[in-house]
């Protein structure tokens, strides 16, 4: 039986998505499942990721007159919970050889940075959904665009971070699921098992935990309490450091890049509205039911704190003061 497994596995060896080390490591435990999914070439997983402005450093010039965000004015990072989502996908890839992980992100050209970042950590490839017509989309229009791209990729499973730090809405995961007509499992902390085509997932809720199960396809959103993403891997970094979108390649004139262009795995596809067969009316500002009416900047009220030291006299004075004004007592 093991021999059969190995021959089934050989087909996978041709492409380097096959991870022979993990294959042997997990063989005794997951032999049955492995067999089942070897024949299906593993799972096809899409990880939804967002490049977000680092909201700890929002300057005054970060907003445009129409109330939308001027992302160009902010440092951009991989949304933290999307990294947790990526890790869950990579763990499935470790367990089920032949599994592929595709990073799907929507944003401007520079969002290709997070696709590369994902590839350095173990993702196989990525797609950049980029088009001026996507600009100004609220969560609903964003979810529509992403769901159209997911339909084109046709994965078995979509995993996303629960929410992005720039909006904190936690809406895109459930809305993508609804647009696809798939069930959703939000607040996931870990994917416990995948057997008989059924995913078992542990959810972390405010007041406890819940374990749920369901058949694929589905959308899972992952919380920050899930394991952190693995770091970059030197091998992947060497392999993908020259991965470029078509637009990025066009900016390069050297022969070196022309040669790289011939290597398929270094090309990051860019999809626009037409590529995902999207209805323009459902995108951007026109496709967004919510409108930003007003933006107010938060300003800390200038108030002088009374400064105290850790000396006993200061502490006793404070306690007496608090008792005198009945704050404690």
């Amino acid at each position: 039986m093991f021999y059969k497994l190995l021959t089934d596995g050989r087909g996978q060896l041709a492409n380097d998505q096959f991870d022979s080390l993990h294959f042997f490591l997990y063989l005794p435990v997951t032999a049955k499942i492995t067999l089942e999914y070897m024949t299906k070439k593993g799972l096809k997983i899409v990880v939804l990721a967002k490049q977000v402005p680092d909201t700890r450093n929002v300057g005054k010039d970060a907003m445009k007159a129409d109330g939308t965000v001027n992302r160009a004015a902010l440092p951009a990072i991989f949304n933290p919970e999307d990294l947790n989502a990526l890790e869950q996908a990579l763990r499935l890839k470790d367990r089920y050889p032949g599994t592929t992980v595709t990073i799907l992100t929507m944003g401007p050209g520079r969002a290709a940075d997070i696709i590369r970042e994902g590839m350095y950590r173990g993702a196989d490839c990525g797609v950049l959904l980029t088009d001026r017509k996507f600009a100004g989309s609220d969560t609903l229009a964003t979810s529509y665009a992403l769901s159209q791209a997911v339909k084109k990729i046709q994965p078995d499973l979509v995993i996303a971070g629960r929410q992005a730090i720039d909006g904190d809405t936690a809406q895109v995961g459930p809305q993508v699921a609804e647009k696809l007509g798939w069930p959703q499992v939000t607040y996931a902390e870990s994917i416990l098992s995948f057997e008989n085509e059924e995913m078992t997932i542990k959810r972390r809720l405010e007041h406890g935990i819940e374990v749920v199960a369901g058949k694929l396809p589905m959308v899972i959103t992952v919380t920050a309490s899930a394991p952190e993403a693995r770091p970059r891997n030197a091998k992947h970094l060497m392999k993908f450091k020259h991965a470029r979108t078509v637009t990025e390649l066009q900016e390069q004139t050297s022969d070196y890049y022309m040669e790289l262009q011939s290597r398929e795995y270094l090309r990051i596809p860019e999809w626009g509205v037409a590529d995902v067969d999207a209805d323009v009316e459902q995108l951007g500002l026109s496709g967004s039911p919510t409108k930003v009416k007003k933006i107010d900047n938060v300003v800390f009220a200038a108030k002088e704190a009374k400064r105290l030291s850790s000396e006993d006299t200061d502490i006793e004075w404070l306690i007496k003061e608090l008792m005198a004004n009945h704050t404690i007592g």
Partner: protein, 339 residues
């Protein structure tokens, strides 16, 4: 028709605080708009729920009572809400910004193609004039929320789509029993007419929900710790001080992430919003994500090694020094001076 709807979260037959808070807010909005307030109670063994919901201002409650509906699962609840909303056409629909409401709200909004604003901190009624067309909208719901890690406050409107949907975090609104309340009028939802096998796609295998024991929201005094407290052992000092003062222990997200405190103690944008009469911030730098959840405290004392910590900008008293040194002194002098 065109009333305000509040989705009520129910766990073991008990309506969640956040839902009661939304009913109080919904009552206030309904009075301003001159419409009715309707509640959605979807669960199992809900007999008599109309009395409690009526106390918080609901005129009508739509009840779906079936074993398949408890505990909460996304798909059956979504299906029933859609069925009710398609007939009733609410102008406003409110959900708690909890793990239930934040799972359900987006799914419903996508299904109905209506906008949803997450984690509102304030809801008001106002008008709007569209700049391009000059079209005037009267009596819109202003959905006011922090964004960008709390660095901005955005007012979101939903001019052309109904319902106008919003989620609100627990503790942000106040719940209030109304005088001379009547039980809400019950309208029964025919569950079997709407639920299908497709709604059963996700099964619950195991569930461990703790009764809320930690109540930082209702505590008059909160001793909160941040990452600067340094360890779980040092957090024990905070518990000691809280016990002596008759308060509760809170924590910043960084402290919770570091494992110093339970998630139920988290204060800030992704945790609970509190407004105690005394807030003692220990080793908390004062990231806006945290201060958004506590800045309305009547009095704030900060204890921090760093005299320039941002928390000191909103503090009434700023003690510079080490948490592990200062807290025992606070306990000592409190005991000495209290009779």
């Amino acid at each position: 028709m065109n009333n305000i709807f509040v989705y009520c979260e129910i766990e073991n037959g008990k309506v969640a605080d956040v839902s009661l808070e939304l009913l109080t807010k919904g009552r206030n909005l309904a009075d301003q708009l001159g419409c009715q307030l309707e509640a959605l109670a979807i669960g199992h063994n809900l007999k008599g729920i109309e009395a409690e919901l009526g106390q918080y201002g609901a005129d009508v409650v739509h009840v779906a009572d079936d074993a398949r509906l408890a505990p909460y699962r996304t798909l059956p609840h979504t299906t029933l809400i859609k069925a009710v909303f398609e007939v009733e056409k609410p102008q406003i629909a409110l959900f708690g910004a909890s793990s239930v409401g934040r799972d359900l709200g987006p799914r419903v909004s996508s299904l109905l193609h209506s906008g949803l604003t997450a984690d509102c901190t304030s809801l008001e009624i106002g008008s709007h004039t569209e700049n391009k067309t000059g079209k005037v909208y009267d009596k819109l719901l202003y959905q006011i929320r922090p964004a960008f890690g709390g660095n901005i406050i955005a007012t979101i409107i939903n001019p052309d789509h109904r319902p106008q949907m919003a989620t609100v975090r627990e503790g942000v609104m106040k719940k209030e029993v109304i005088a001379n309340a009547k039980p809400a009028q019950v309208k029964t939802i025919d569950v079997n007419k709407f639920l299908t096998d497709a709604d059963e796609a996700i099964r619950i295998i195991e569930r461990e929900i703790e009764e809320r024991k930690i109540d930082i929201k209702g505590a008059p005094i909160i001793v909160a710790g941040g990452y600067g407290v340094g360890s779980k052992e040092n957090f024990a000092l905070l518990h000691e001080l809280a016990q002596v003062l008759g308060g509760e222990v809170g924590a910043s997200r960084a402290a919770v992430d570091a494992g110093f405190a339970e998630h139920a103690r988290q204060i800030g944008q992704t945790g609970v919003t509190v407004r105690p009469k005394l807030y003692i911030a220990c080793g908390i730098s004062g990231q806006i994500q945290h201060t958004a959840g506590m800045e309305q405290s009547a009095m704030i004392i900060s204890i921090n090694n760093d005299p320039a910590a941002p928390i000191n900008q909103i503090a009434d008293y700023a003690i510079t020094g080490d948490v592990s040194e200062i807290i025992p002194k606070l306990i000592k002098y409190y005991k000495k001076n209290s009779k």
